[in-house]
């Protein structure tokens, strides 16, 4: 499944919610289900500081694909992280690097990625692409 197809699937799934609180309920469930980052990586090195909530992000290259693992101290933030991981993890660096993330907007969560919310999510998406760029450059050289 491509990044685009995964995003379209998420958009379809969210169409059944007609209430904001249902959306949040769903995100809370996703957040609770998200496998936590290995506690040894819940450190300053991997932190993306938001004023409101904290996010930890790690990226590993396995068989040419980037595996993202992440965590947050806030559950709704974790729920959104889980969607971002579903879209971007386990893909080649070039694909991640060139991805256009439109699903956040379509499911009405854009405000959660706004710089004014300062919850670490916007910085997280940027960092995911930076990791992809770094691995891409590494692969080219290697």
């Amino acid at each position: 499944m491509t990044i685009k197809e995964t995003q379209d699937n998420i958009i379809n799934e969210f169409e059944i919610f007609n209430d904001w609180l249902d959306k949040y309920d769903y995100l809370i469930n996703l957040g609770n289900d998200l496998p936590m980052i290995d506690p040894k990586y819940r450190t300053e090195e991997y932190i993306i500081n938001g004023c409101q909530s904290k996010v930890w992000l790690r990226a590993d290259l396995q068989d040419g694909k980037i595996i993202f693992t992440a965590d947050s101290d806030a559950i709704i933030t974790k729920g959104i992280i889980s969607l971002l991981i579903r879209v971007l993890s386990n893909r080649g660096p070039e694909e991640v690097m060139n991805s256009d993330l439109y699903f956040i907007d379509s499911i009405g969560l854009r405000e959660n990625l706004s710089p004014t919310r300062a919850n670490g999510l916007l910085a997280m998406t940027k960092k995911m692409k930076l990791y992809a760029l770094a691995y891409y450059t590494m692969q080219k050289k290697g």
């Binding site: 904001w20 609180l21 949040y24 409101q52 904290k54 101290d73 806030a74 559950i75 709704i76 919850n119």
Partner: protein, 410 residues
Amino acid sequence: MESLSDIQITQIRKDFPILSTKVYGKPIVYFDNGATTQKPRVVIDAISEFYRGKNSSVHRGVHFLSEKSTEAYEQARETIRHFINAGSTNEIIFTSGATGSINAIAFSFGEKYIKSGDEILISGMEHHSNIVPWQMLCERKNASLKIFPFNRNGELDIEKFTGSFTEKTRIVAFTHVSNTLGTINPVKEMIRLAHQHNVPVLIDGAQAIQHGNIDVLELDCDFYAFSGHKVYGPNGIGVLYGKEKWLEELPPYQGGGDMVDNVTFEKTTYNVLPYKYEAGTTNYVGAIGLKTALDYISSIGIDKIARYEKSLLYYATEKLNSIDGLKIFGTAVNKISIISFLLDNIHHYDAGLVLDKLGIAVRTGNHCNQPVMDYYGIPGTLRASLVFYNTREEVDRLYEGLLKVKKMFS
């Protein structure tokens, strides 16, 4: 003692246009007054009318409009003088806000009186705005910042405060009311104690001015700082009260237009008080808006407002405490209507997001008060800050909202 009746509150609410807006289809419950207060129609109108009919730069011209504008600006100064019972309008300096006022004194006082090895004393519950300017001063002058603590209830430790003075203490700065914990500090007594050591005192009144009667003569503080936007006035205007003897002695904070007497390339002499501290084109429209806000408050009565807010605080505290797993931070006996809290182990950001969708505006985070969060070992809280246009029904909606939050995250 007289408070405000429900009928009066209904009337008062009509004075604030924004209170009738809806968010996500629900009537807004605005409990973020600690960050900024809403504006009554008279303030909005005064600003609009000023721009329509009187606008001109103050103190700059002989023409009709400039005269009108200057007159209104100086009337505003007099209203503020009266509101805080200062001795003279020479002691009322318009600034950009409480932060601007504190920075001005940290600079001016620091330039004149702080030397290497000196000590500046502040409390452990200060807003970042009453920490950082002093820290910057200490860095410039190689001085040191000393902190006196507060206890688990959020009350300052007066004994430790008294014990913190040394012969090197040059100035002490602390808040009248904590923006996170709501504590009303015993400032009058603390000022008296500081003066026994011959140390001047700056009071951060940003969270106090809107909740009760402020009398700077009675307090005998050397400096008092507050913001217009937290007392129903416009943004970008604030006040620095300073005793005339200090303001005469200290050097100005910024240089430029209106603060000068005579300028040559060799030497500039400064204007008299209060203009010496008002460089550049001042925010005279803001000052007029602030005057209108204070007139509005006075027409209702600050004491009545304070009593009503106290009853609202008791009601809200009891209601929130009845929720299992809710913990309030800041339980001082003497406090204003600010309630900081956490619910179970639910992250403040999560709870705030859900409350927002229910139409309830609270502040979440560390409230520019990181050292207080560190003291309690928490990353942040939710903060409901209530004022006189809030109602018991709105408190009930917060209560219902929190029950919903609890259910969603359990």
